[in-house]
Amino acid sequence: MRPVAYTKQLVPGTKNPEPDFAYVNTFNMKQEKIITLEHVTKRFPVGDGEFAALRDITLDFQKGEFAGLVGPSGSGKTTLLNIIGSLDSPTEGTAMVMGKRISALSHKQSARLRNLHLGFIFQVFNLLPVYTVYENVEFSLLLQNRSASERKKAVMEALEWVGLEKMANKKPAKISGGEGQRVAIARAMVKRPEIVLADEPTANLDAKNAHAIIQTMKKLNEELGTTFLFSTHDEKVMSYLDRLVHLNDGKVAQDELVNHKTKTP
């Protein structure tokens, strides 16, 4: 489903009256559909009945998008993130991620999809406390059986992206919350995933750190072309996003493209 707000905002600023044309011209880097959801419904058994967390969701995300799922608690943000992250599968409908149909994947294939193509950033940084910053970032690459030299190069590069190369040997307990979340970003990014799923990544950070974190992610999005999909209700995060998918009661209430040139984050 093409976001309606997208064309509404872009068309007035262009001479071309064709919304699709404008879309292609402006976002020609983002034309590859990386996530496609068609009529996705997710129901959970509750007592004798069922609760529908997602209802008939049809959405797609292009490669390189910096988008967010926004909405109040219980609106279905995390459920949708779970399905896109191959942690869960829809009850009805089709969810395609990186060309893979989520409901058709075995546990092993799901794990492989997450390992190779998806990065996760959690609200709590969830670093492994006994390992150093370097080792936490290295872990994803170990799962991919990369050589030691490859791992070292990739880990140091990822730490440079987030400005923590000098903290490589520190343990998570010795770094601040903001640094911890930057390590989590480096961990998610080190394997160069196509998609990064971030669940309330700034919820535990102060305003200064939250801005720094979101700027870091935005920079990575622009430089590496990684698709970032957030689940958030944080205004600070929303102000950086190019697209906001508003969820309410498990339905898409609004799919809004945001032109940041007209906004100051």
Partner: protein
């Protein structure tokens, strides 16, 4: 990945140090208990075999019926021929003649009077025959407190406490007073060549040990013997084989109605040892089994708690794309590593304890001052080959089993709940 996991184990003390300490303690206790039980129980069997029953014993039927009275009037005749027959028929055993006797020991004062007297239990062994192995079997050199082994006929060894009580010194003469095989009174003078302490209160306080040739002269038992004892070459009692030998020997005399016909009795059928041996087997098995089971539950719980404590870590690893099977396998590998380290350390410390208890033992002589029971006054553990691996049952298998059970939770874990769980 292995290096990564090792780093985790070494750095996380709750994951390594604590389980290793628990396993080490558990394995050490298992080995100590098992070795101590084997030592104590085995000592009792061994002591009975060495001093009294042999692994099998041949007597006349009548002697066997009244053996508590030391009835030498019912002794075996033609002992040499019968011993030869036994050596040929059962070459896997060493056969020795022994005569047990009771009587009174008098210590003369040199003026036709008596310095002291005391009842004695006598044992006549093939002391002067180097090939009999009796000196080693009875561990006489080890038990010798003062003096030397009898080097010639007419010399005797007596219990050290007995000697102290009678104020007998090495080289002093003592007189045995008792009855011959034919019932007549006999007096026989010995020179005390040494004093012994076997660690058995009954023997130490009233034993006299002489060469069997002296006993035969003293008791009119020419070519006769009260008992012919058979010992397995390995010196380890084999109940099944002993019973088989006895059955085979006795089958030759089934038709003989003579009460002087020889009969072979296995160790288990003497001194009420059957019940004891069964009790030892059952008790050892039960006690060690219960202990191993209890330790297994403790270590299983250690593994279980370890798995629960790492719930969040496993969640992160699942989210990062590690397969459930891989996480489960690494959990098991870690348990094997920790279990093996703890079991090896525990086995070493346990064996060290066993060595100490085997060499030094626990002296219970203070509790046995008035005891006449034939049992060692120093309880010792015994090293047996099974101690090398028994600790691995609770240490390795229980630990791995506990982790395997707790690890099943990894498979049951709903990845869909990961985001929620990892928010905590």
């Amino acid at each position: 990945m292995i290096r990564f996991l090792l780093k985790g184990i070494l750095r996380d003390k709750n994951r390594s140090m604590l389980p290793v300490i628990i396993i080490t303690i558990g394995v050490t206790l298992t080995i100590l208990l098992s070795g101590y039980l084997k030592g104590v129980m085995g000592d009792l069997t061994d002591q009975n075999a060495r001093f009294e029953t042999g692994h099998v014993k041949v007597m006349t039927r009548a002697y066997y019926e009244n053996k508590d009275q030391l009835p030498n009037d019912l002794a075996l005749l033609d002992a040499a021929a019968l011993t030869d027959t036994l050596r040929k028929a059962f070459p896997d055993m060493q056969w020795v003649n022994r005569i047990r006797f009771g009587g009174l020991i008098d210590v003369p004062d040199g003026d036709d009077g008596s310095k002291g007297q005391g009842p004695a239990v006598g044992m006549a062994l093939e002391l002067l025959s180097a090939s009999s192995g009796e000196i080693q079997r009875m561990n006489i050199p080890g038990a010798l407190v003062k003096g030397h082994l009898p080097a010639r006929s007419g010399e005797a060894l007596i219990g050290h406490d007995f000697a102290t009580k009678l104020n007998v010194k090495i080289g002093d003469e003592i007189t045995y007073m008792g009855a011959t095989m034919n019932g007549s009174l006999t007096f026989y003078r010995f020179s005390v060549s040494g004093t012994l302490r076997f660690g058995s209160a009954g023997l130490d306080r009233g034993a006299i040990i002489i060469d069997i040739s002296d006993a035969r002269t003293m008791l009119d038992m020419e070519d006769a013997t009260g008992e012919i004892l058979g010992f397995f070459e390995s010196n380890v009692y084999n109940d099944d084989l002993a019973l088989a030998h006895a059955a085979r020997f006795n089958s030759r005399y089934v038709q003989v109605r003579n009460e002087y016909a020889p009969v072979m009795i296995a160790l288990r059928d003497q001194n009420n040892l059957a019940g004891y041996l069964d009790y030892v087997d059952m008790f050892s098995l039960l006690f060690v089994g219960i202990f191993v089971f209890a330790m297994s539950i403790v270590l299983w719980n250690t593994g279980l708690l370890g798995g629960l404590r790492r719930y969040q870590e496993f969640g992160i690893r699942l989210a990062l794309g590690e397969e459930k099977g891989h996480i489960y396998r690494t959990l098991v590998y870690e348990a094997i590593l920790i279990g093996a380290i703890g079991s090896v350390i525990g086995t070493c410390t346990g064996l060290l304890g066993i060595w100490y208890l085997q060499v030094h033992g626990i002296d219970i002589s203070g509790m046995m001052k008035n005891s006449t029971m034939m049992m060692p006054s120093v309880l010792r553990a015994r090293f047996t080959p099974d101690l090398l691996y028994i600790g691995f049952i609770p240490g390795l298998f229980a630990m791995v089993f506990g982790n395997m059970l707790s690890g099943i939770g990894i498979y049951k874990r709903q990845t869909a709940a990961l985001f929620k769980e990892l928010e905590v």
